[in-house]
Symmetry: C2
Subunit: 702 residues, 2 copies
């Protein structure tokens, strides 16, 4: 089966492909990738890849190689950029991260390996990059600009990734799990890495994936599920498989990480303990890490889910998460590796009768006491919300409470709770809003800033997400879900980018520079996250999904659950009292102004009302309608919006490829069915509970 | 792993084992089994298996062989029985079936092959049997009597099975299903027949199972799941596996049946249709049946689930169930085989918004128009209730509405909805009540009578059930669930037996003649079905279980379900209006007096109130309490009863084998946990809905 080119079809390279291009670089796997991209483009569209001489119209130059060139051999624009760069002078720089003033800010530093400067002058477009990675990113910046990258003048623009870690986690198992399938929470077929326990023989597929990720600046990938299971052997006897993957990813600027089991010293090493303070355990990890670096010198490190949802961890030995992470960190440190330690820790055997226990509090309660205790090469990866990737939940207060710890914000590109790649749900807008959340109010930095090292402690973490790809011919099940993967990379690079501009960018690359298609896709996709919110769980109440699968409505599905996710709806009202005054106290985990904002019924934002408060159905929202009427209104609106989006897609008939059209239409039909099911089940359920009819008299089944 | 002997431990044979036994029979596989049982018993306990001469204290005589004996060679008691039998004179006969007066009643007929007469006189106990099967059943009747079978006088008793078909269905798959496990709705480990797609090499295990079934009179077994899947090949290329099983079962008087896929002519035969009216299809089935009988001359026939829950069937070709069943029946008829055709047909893609569609009506609506159209060798197998083996539901009206059709009542020994062999739930009492239900009121016959051929049309069907055994060391997961398998066989033989007497019988065989143990087991097990009912779904409302697994509470789990099982609970009331006057009309499917009894809120029995009526929580039951108070009361009582049962079990410590004790204790702990979970979820849910507190002020979590 042919694989869809996603946002890198040949056509996207047409403007570049007609240029006379020179690449000035040392010989490196990433530089070779850049050269190969250029060679392919010019071969397709009639341009030229120049050798060392000849007058270029586009120059891609790596700093070190350019410095060794005779200045007169470089076009003026490159020479000028080189002078600026070596002189360390500031240039125009986009994005908040680069313009903020944290101690690690790179504005005034020289070009880092991932940085590049783009300019155009005198008919020559130029990229000057700090290293091969920057060269690759500069190339794709020019590709994204299309024809406009090769006309007029472009004043020098410096581009630096706001985040140093831009990572995708793969919840891919070596074998298909009898219940969860091969990719846990995967909605796009099997794993592109593993088939029946062995490496996928289709290496082209993996190369194509690495190329897509490299083009959007992703620089780290974990190649197996954090619920490690039998894949633990990838660390030892099956290391060769990881070597092969690392070879592929390296060429696209991506470091390979491995999810490891904390119990490996027992299960793989034959020790009788995995106690992180036991010297034999530390020695075992050190040996294991050395063996990895011997074969993968640029190995990224380990990703770990410990003491979470049944995974082994340091609690078994009476140790804490810092003890657990640090034993791995010390094994990796001599080689420059990093431990990514997930903060997704909570009691999944809660008793629903106990209304004082609150899963939302758990990560904060577990982790904030450990602030400052993690080694320098540990990054604690924190889900964006305190629960689990809901369409709407509060932001995790952990992210504002560990200044002495490197923190990565974890997003979920795979649409576990947002329509499972059957529903159109463009998440760029959600992530943009989340990453722009300012825990200390307008004066402080935002989540992206914290991850980038602009928080109070100045520690850099990064942004990570669970990938949404699989063996599906469109990569992502829903062809339009490719936009989420694309947006993840772009926002991880620079969270201040406009998510709708990113959407347009993706649409243009994928479908060509067709204004009607771009406008049509906006109708279909822009705001689709909010439509999804409308027809599913209301007002931040969360988890009204079918237990287990997490697809489709089940209003009471998690209401008596050991997983700790409740809404407490009775005949009078609904919501979780998380206030300090009368509830679980979760609101108190935030700094001001949010602590007070969430605590008060008067100031709590409507969309999070039921996340923080238990109120009567007759409570009047800040919007002026009652809670129950809001439930009815939004559920009718949500379905109407899906109908309108489906109609907008139909108007694109003939302007998008037939195979994409067929798949999207089939999935829109399912989305409509599902949205109506959500609407009717939720509305009926609350009509039955409250006894309050819709004031507008629409059909609610009794 | 050693296998538990269940109700046939050596000790149960001690009284017989000290006798001087003569077996008078021809050489037949079943007679050989009888001889082997006797030989083993006397070898163990010091008795003697006599050759043709010598004075016996116990004679097992087969009619034909006895007739050929010189009368003087037989003890007086045997000679007397023989004279009665050949003369056709009536003897004392237990059980309703034998004393009823349907056209097929066997009271005045000679001894049929499965019949036997038991007597004791002059110090000699005698069984005279109509054939080898009767000999086996007579042997086990004597075993059940223990020492009392060999003292004093026993006036001649004639024993005939009320049902000619006493069948166990196995929902065993050849391979483990990734979600459902190997045995669908099995709670006792893997299949005893199949391992990893191949025949289980542990043939001793299968022989032990066949021996257990033969001892309780089961005479038919279907060896694979009605959801046939890949096991379809058992009919053709894997037939040898069935031959081997048939060889084992035959020795214990059991005919082997196969579940077949209606689509076999397509999938196995390569035809382009499975249309039952297509001649090629009929020919294919005829050839397939002939091939089976060539290798299994006493093959029982085919069990079929068609057009049900996704299985293929005649509807695909615009044919009805009679067309479908008859094409198979005509293939089997020349060989004496039978088609068992399940009536479990309903729409499992219902729309919950449509309150007029009622799954309970489905089997009646589908099948009763076909009454009289099924061939003589078709038995239509009807689940005891119109839904699906709930702890309490109405009796299926189909059983009273097809006089010209052979009907089998289907029970479920495997505890899908009754605690999944983690809970003590003795089902003998439920089955006794169900089989004793008289659809035409006191003057008419009951369900057992209909199955036995005493209904208006006089057609004999039988009783079938889904087995509860697996590779578990105690066969059934919960050791006490063995009693359900035992009771099934006994009630299928004679539904008028007292289920508590059966329980005692099982207890004595299994644990020995210990009055304290027997009394203790009564405390643990008698009425446990009603305890289970109390702490689960109330008043016949059904299906408040976790979707999919069917274990544990989920009050709204099936409330918005395509499977068609709802309770319609809102803030005012609960129940399904199935009346003719205002509801789905299901009550009208019953003959009088039940049609009127169920139709009226005044006469409908409390335990089925919510099965037939939607009422306010404040409705006062015939018992004098309100619906909501009944819910609270029964849920508190149900848990208290489980606590008392667990305490009763603890008092048996030291009087039951340690391995059984350990398993039962562990499971009682789970039952207690689960019962409390049921109590609290159900009570909380209805407190939240109704707002009505418990009048007795007990703890209901808010």
């Amino acid at each position: 089966m042919s694989t869809h080119p996603a946002w890198l079809p040949d056509a996207a390279f047409a403007p570049l492909g007609t240029q006379r291009v020179r690449v000035v670089s040392d010989d490196d796997v990433v530089s070779r990738t850049v050269r190969a991209e250029v060679a392919r483009a010019v071969a397709t569209f009639g341009g030229t890849l120049l050798a060392d001489d000849g007058a270029p119209s586009f120059v891609l130059a790596e700093l070190a190689a350019a410095e060794r060139s005779a200045p007169e051999a470089l076009p003026d624009v490159v020479a000028g950029l080189l002078e600026d760069a070596v002189g360390g002078g500031g240039s125009a720089v986009p994005g908040e991260a680069a313009s903020s003033s944290g101690p690690d800010a790179v504005v005034d530093a020289g070009l880092e390996p991932e940085d590049f400067v783009l300019a155009r002058s005198g008919g020559v477009t130029a990229v000057l990059a700090g290293g091969p990675h920057g060269l690759l990113y500069g190339l794709h910046e020019v590709v994204r600009r299309g024809a406009s990258g090769f006309v007029g003048e472009i004043a020098p623009e410096r581009h630096s990734p706001a985040q140093s870690l831009r990572m995708l986690d793969h919840w891919d198992n070596l074998h298909a799990h009898p219940v969860m399938g091969q990719v846990e929470r995967g909605y796009a077929g099997g794993s592109i890495f593993w088939v029946d326990g062995e490496p996928n023989p289709d290496r082209e597929r993996i190369r194509a994936y690495a190329r897509l990720l490299g083009s959007i600046g992703v620089n780290a990938v974990a190649v197996n599920n954090v619920n490690v299971g039998s894949a633990a052997v990838l660390l030892t006897e099956r290391l060769g498989d990881v070597v092969d993957l690392a070879d592929i990813f390296r060429a696209h600027g991506i470091a390979t990480y491995l999810s490891v089991s904390f119990a490996s010293p027992v299960h793989l090493g034959g020790l009788d303990t995995a106690d992180p303070l036991d010297e034999r355990v530390a020695a075992w990890w050190a040996d294991a890490a050395s063996a990895v670096y011997e074969r993968i010198p640029d190995f990224g490190g380990f990703l770990v889910k410990a003491d979470s949802e049944g995974q082994p961890g340091p609690f078994t030995y009476g140790r804490d998460h810092a003890d657990g992470a640090n034993v791995l960190a010390r094994a990796l440190a001599p080689h420059g590796g990093t431990v990514i330690w997930r903060a997704f820790v909570y009691n999944h055997q809660q008793d629903w009768r106990d209304r004082s226990t609150d899963r939302a509090r758990a990560a904060f309660d577990h982790f904030t006491p450990l602030d400052g205790k993690f080694d320098d090469n540990v990054v604690v990866q924190v889900k964006h919300g305190p629960l689990d990737f809901q369409v709407r939940e509060a932001v995790s207060p952990v992210l504002a409470a560990m200044p002495r710890t490197r923190l990565a914000v974890e997003l979920q590109v795979t649409q576990e709770y947002t329509g499972q790649q059957k529903h159109v749900c463009y998440l760029g807008e959600q992530w943009s809003e989340l990453l722009g959340f300012r825990p200390w109010g307008e004066a402080g930095t935002d989540l992206a800033g914290i991850a980038a090292g602009h928080g109070p402690g100045g520690r850099r973490g990064g942004i990570a997400a669970v990938s949404n790809v699989g063996t599906d011919e469109f990569w992502t099940g829903h062809p339009l879900a490719q936009a989420n993967l694309y947006a993840f990379g772009r926002l991880a690079w620079d969270a201040s980018l406009d998510p709708l501009a990113i959407l347009d960018e993706w649409a243009t690359l994928t479908f060509g520079a067709d204004d009607d298609v771009r406008a049509g896709l906006r109708e279909v996709m822009a705001g689709s996250w909010l439509s999804y919110e409308k027809y599913t769980a209301p007002l931040g109440v969360c988890f009204m999904v079918t237990p287990g699968t997490h697809y489709g409505p089940s209003v009471d599905g998690y209401e008596y659950s050991p997983w700790g996710t409740y809404h407490f709806a009775d005949r009078e009202g609904i919501g979780v009292d998380r206030t300090v005054a009368t509830g679980t106290g979760f609101a108190g985990q935030y700094p001001e102004p949010w602590r007070s904002t969430y605590e008060s019924l008067e100031t709590c934002p409507d969309e999070l009302l039921l996340f923080f408060h238990h109120v009567p159905y007759t409570h009047v929202l800040r919007s002026g309608v009652t809670v129950v009427q809001h439930i009815y209104d939004t559920h009718f609106e949500g379905v109407e919006e899906v109908e309108a989006r489906a109609a907008a897609w139909e108007r694109l008939e003939g302007r998008v490829p037939a195979d994409v059209d067929a798949r999207v239409r089939a999935l829109l039909a399912e989305q409509l069915r599902s949205a109506r099911e959500w609407r009717d089940q939720v509305n009926t359920s609350f009509l039955r509970r409250s006894g309050i009819p819709d004031e507008r008299g629409r059909t609610i089944f009794p």
